[in-house]
Amino acid sequence: MDIIVCVKRVPDTSEADVKIDGSGKNIDLEDLTFDINEWDNYAIEEAILIKEKVGGTVTAITMGPEESNEVLRRCMAKGADAAIRLTDDAFEGSDGYAIAKILHSAIKGMSFDAVFLGAQAGDDGYGVVGPMLAEMLGIPHATLITKVDLEDGKAKVHRELEGGLEEVVDINLPAVLGIQTGINEPRYVSIMGIRKVAKKEIPVKGLADVGLSADDVGEAGSKTKIESMYIPEVGEVAEIIEGSPDEAAAKLAQILKEKGLMG
């Protein structure tokens, strides 16, 4: 079983004070920390678990600047055999559709049984790259996957629906599988582990290497365009209980008692 896993390096904004940058079309990335997209972390883990069980190879692929190598090295430290980084100034400004085209061009000549990726990314959350890539490759796909069982040439997958319901789908391989968080328990990677793969070469491919022209990628090759980004106006917000943690806790306890919400 040879699996290609598409991964992305994203900023962690969960607890950050996010600001819009000077262009008005992006956020200020300066003070943010970056890591592998959470969904992709589950996707690489799932691929490695399958490799450990049935054999084969795992290749991690990303599109991004040199800093993205750290994400690829993390994948290799977990157990990926190889990594590829796609990068070109022309790729800048690509939307999900253009990114799918770039990945498609890089992947189509490779031999694989499945492509795994996160069902979506934690930054822009479009969730389109996987199914678009599958359509371009002419192979089936399924997304929001919470379980993968392989059986000769096929995969039995669980898809997460709403309200705690799942559907079970049989899908022929090769296929593109969009992995949902929680499918496994991603392994921890030590600094020693990353150091061990520090010298592994990561091939870099640009526009010409993947056989595309500048019109196919970036803003020119995209179908959607960011007009503006803004911090949304927050409507009515909570009454903030002031004071030290002890004082605030005491006031809250009193409020709850008055409302009869205690015991």
Binding site: D17, G96, A100, A142, K156, V234, E239, P245, L256
Partner: protein
């Protein structure tokens, strides 16, 4: 112009997203001058067509046993034929588990620009713009379709209100299914329910919801102690389940349970929309979070902006003290 809206149903129920999208489509159609067409695919779903007819100028009904359960591949085959024929200005699909599996591949096949997970659509002149939330819900982005005359959008569930007074009385038109053979490369084989646990969080009057901010499973007992003091039950947000710190049956949100307790005390929960959708019907929401910009504070009536590890033990002690008094 025609706005084509894909109705969604599952296990004999028309899903609310269908009417939410039709209501938003009406707004766009009124603004730009156009007609709304609801598309209903399935088997034995004629009843839904009657409901949809109130919200659309026309309902296209395609019944086929191959469409009985949702299958993105089958839906794509039918919709691509239909859309090529009708050439609508806009196609609307739900940003649901079904829509997420369907829309991106369909958009590529039809060469349409696609904006997913839209929370709103705005008309400016003769163009439509999609409004989306990005970066943990802290930033909104206005997306255009680069001047294209046609587009596809997927709409976030619960983002649009269902209009109350829509009585369009659209005609129901039955269309022959273009599917000729079974799709054997992707086959629906059944549904599976989440395993029920010992506690039913939907029945609790008081829930103490715990989120990613708890940091470590060793801190869960601290939350359990607070829940015990206040006479409530512990629930959680998705990251806590993903990390296996609490079982799935404790999860509140779109992919978990919908709860409406008298008190929902959110501890270390930032308030992703999927979580809010599962608990915003609570009578009283109180949030404890160290990030003053966390979206949970927009959903809560009371908030404490502080380190939960300082507030929670103090709150537990104070509650026990007041109870003893």
């Amino acid at each position: 112009m025609e706005i084509l809206v894909l109705a969604e149903h599952r296990r004999g129920e028309l899903r609310e997203i269908s009417l939410e999208m039709l209501s938003k489509a009406k707004e766009i159609a009124d603004n730009m001058g156009g007609e709304i067409t609801a598309v209903l695919l399935g088997q034995g779903v004629k009843d839904f067509a009657d409901t949809l007819a109130n919200y659309a100028n026309k309902v296209l009904l395609i019944e086929d046993s191959k469409l009985e359960n949702f299958n993105a591949e089958a839906y794509q085959n039918v919709l691509s034929v239909l859309i090529k024929e009708r050439n609508p200005a806009m196609v609307m699909i739900g940003h649901t588990a079904f829509g997420m599996d369907l829309a991106p591949a369909l958009a590529v096949e039809l060469d349409l620009p696609l904006a997913t997970d839209c929370v709103d659509l705005k008309v400016d002149g003769d163009s439509v713009f999609a409004i989306r939330q990005v970066y943990s819900g802290k930033v909104n982005v206005k997306v255009s379709f680069s001047g294209a005359k046609k587009c596809m959008v997927t709409m976030r569930a619960s983002a649009c209100q269902i209009a109350e007074d829509m009585k369009l009385g659209g005609a129901i038109e039955t269309v022959d299914s273009p599917l000729t053979e079974d799709i054997d490369y992707k086959v629906f084989s059944g549904y599976e329910e989440a395993v029920a646990g010992e506690v039913d969080i939907t029945q609790a009057d008081i829930l103490v919801g715990v989120g990613r901010g708890i940091g470590d499973p060793d801190n869960i007992p601290m939350i359990e102690e607070l829940a015990e003091a206040i006479g409530g039950v512990v629930s959680c947000s998705r990251p806590v389940v993903d990390k296996k710190w609490l079982p799935k049956d404790r999860q509140v949100g779109t992919s978990g349970k919908t709860v409406k307790p008298k008190l929902y005390l959110a501890v270390g929960i930032s308030g992703a929309f999927q979580h809010l959708a599962g608990m915003n019907g609570s009578d009283l929401i109180v949030a404890i979070n160290k990030d003053p910009k966390a979206p949970i504070f927009a959903a809560a009536q009371y908030g404490i902006v502080a380190d939960l590890f300082k507030v929670v033990p103090a709150l537990k002690d104070k509650i026990n003290e007041l109870k003893g008094a």
